[in-house]
Symmetry: C2
Subunit: 339 residues, 2 copies
DNA sequence: TTCTGATGTGTTTACGTAAACACATTGATG
DNA sequence: CATCAATGTGTTTACGTAAACACATCAGAA
């Protein structure tokens, strides 16, 4: 039987040797069975599996894992868990990794690049097979350590910038510009804007900058831009909408940093008896599924969250493409209609 | 310099020995600095940190990790990522673990106990410090392996059942019963019910059973119970509500398995011009924050998602309490009012 | 028939860290 | 002033797995 630090009571976990002894084979054979690698005869495999089950052996990846560097962990950093967008990305990542027996180790950066750096240093200590990071902006130290360790990295959600190696996303500048154009084309001229996260969301900022540029160059006016602190929520959207609509120069359309805020805006309108888009048009971002359940539709930009997560995960587990893959996903403005 | 499997090109990651050589100390001293354990003088610490930074060394937990069994990984299984409830639980878990330098490795079971079993076997191969599992129902094999390995386990969300060791949650039967009583006390007598996940959500089922019992024993009638497949969503809630309200015996109150479904019901009512709770009362479950942004309030049961996650995480990292902790959190029916 | 490559199993050793133990040095305590 | 505990650092060794290599056996090809 395997022993462990003297005195650690009944903490003697079985090892491959124990399984091997019981099955009458060598430890190496057990290792091959556990990993499903190499040639193993049906009979031996059955014996080994049976022996392992009988003594309650669980494969220990920490052990040899440091001698062989093929570690089925993938580090994943997301900016927040409060936004459905990232849970959908995570779902795409998780399902794709699952198929290949990889497992995500994750951290939440709360939109802080310094926190992201600390997270990545920590996660790298697990020698992950790859890293999935949000956005293209990172600290210098983070870029350095990634270059030094040579870990495979997939950046996601954004393509406006300089990727470390591969990235999967779309252009937020284009998204902002297109929405501005769309609102202008629909005849709106006094535009409001509402965001959250206190401006830490760099991709939302990119959208807004491109949006504002186009609004102005087209000849419309940005009549108010609010940013709330903290995570985005319907409530924050509702409150900012109320504030925007009380202004002297009242907007005829409002662009929100995301659908949650926009839906909150819609709730304000419902509560106040305002018609959408008659009294004020609302535009969100992401195209989350719950929009289709609302009593009125709002305009939004459809983004492929699940697909981005899945593509990034595939990149990590792929043996192909050493570096330099940039996949730009299609996004499309979907025009809301009142039901 | 450290070498690695011959021929693996520039894949020679530095080791503690390299750092030690550069800093003029022993490998063990580097180990102590990296872990922040043992006694280290300020000067030596500074030298070591500097040397590590210079050569780009990242601590490798896989290596010695198998000799010492104090592994800062915690396995976390959630039934779904589609429901805000679990992302809030995850947030509580993550933030609490973060403070102690632990990291979650997670898996999604999709409400399947067999999938949960497979996930746990996989996660156990990382020799996690502990395991956080949803609910009290698990496969026999899972219970066995947990007993065999002696891994610390915290079950969460539910207290109606027989915990493996410690559990953190509340009684779903009580929640269902209380809501039934509340609706009865308010005078509702024809009650509808709507759920999702095709009945796989065992905790929702417990709520419903206790709810239905009380409804009947109190003398009201359950006039319809619908269950949609797939994850819960506002859209599913809206559709089921439409269906329930078309029935011959039209419900005067509807209980939903969660707030998303209930909010969908509210959207149906808004779209149809029905007054809530005048024409039909709606009751959800969880008390999610977005309810406060809706133009009308619905009744719900407040559950402490974040707190449950945080408590479970604390239990895992606590050296106290070898086993047998059951913490039942308060839940409360919060009555909706029309704004 | 002999050779060859696929199949199946064992032996030896490396992996990089951390525990265990040993041993200075220092400052405070009695 | 001797003793002791706290502080600081080094040496040796264990951890459990998987790579590398070795060596059978066997079927089909040459």
């Amino acid at each position: 039987m395997a022993r462990r630090k003297a005195g650690t009571e009944a903490d003697n976990q079985p090892t491959m040797h124990d399984v091997a002894r019981r099955a009458g084979v060598s430890q190496m054979t057990v290792s091959r069975v556990m990993r499903g690698a190499g040639y193993i005869s049906k009979d031996v495999r059955k014996e080994v599996v049976k022996a392992a089950r009988e003594i309650g052996y669980v494969h220990n990846r920490l052990a040899g894992g440091n001698a062989s560097y093929d570690n089925p962990l993938v580090g994943v950093v997301v900016p927040t868990m409060q936004n459905r967008v990232f849970t959908e990305v995570l779902t795409g990542i998780n399902e794709t990794l699952d198929e290949s027996g990889l497992r995500p180790v994750f951290g939440v950066s709360e939109y802080s690049l310094d926190a992201e750096e600390a997270l990545v240093f920590d996660i790298l200590s697990w020698r992950p097979r790859g890293l999935i990071l949000p956005g293209l902006e990172h600290t210098k130290a983070l870029r350095q350590i990634i270059a030094r360790t040579g870990v495979r990295v997939a950046e996601i959600m954004d393509t406006d910038g300089d990727p470390i190696s591969s990235c999967f996303g779309f252009s937020h500048r284009a998204a902002g510009r297109d929405m501005a154009q769309h609102l202008f084309d629909c005849g709106y001229r006094r535009i409001g804007y509402a965001a959250s996260q206190g401006g830490l969301d760099l991709r939302a900022t990119k959208r807004f900058e491109a949006f504002a540029d186009r609004i102005r160059s087209a000849g419309a006016r940005l009549v108010g831009a609010l940013t709330s602190d903290g995570p985005s929520s319907m409530l924050a959207g509702r409150q900012m909408t109320a504030e925007l609509l009380q202004r002297a120069e009242r907007p005829d359309a409002i662009y929100y940093a995301n659908d949650d805020l926009a839906a909150g805006g819609l709730m304000h309108c419902l509560a106040e008896g305002l018609s959408v888009p008659g009294d004020v048009a609302l535009a969100g971002f992401n195209g989350l599924g719950f929009l289709s359940a609302l009593p009125m539709r709002i305009t939004t930009t459809e983004t492929p969250r699940y697909e981005i997560g899945a593509a990034a995960a595939k990149e990590i587990l792929g043996s192909t493409s050493p570096a330099g893959v940039t996949k730009v996903f299609e996004i499309s403005v979907s025009v809301g209609e009142t039901t």
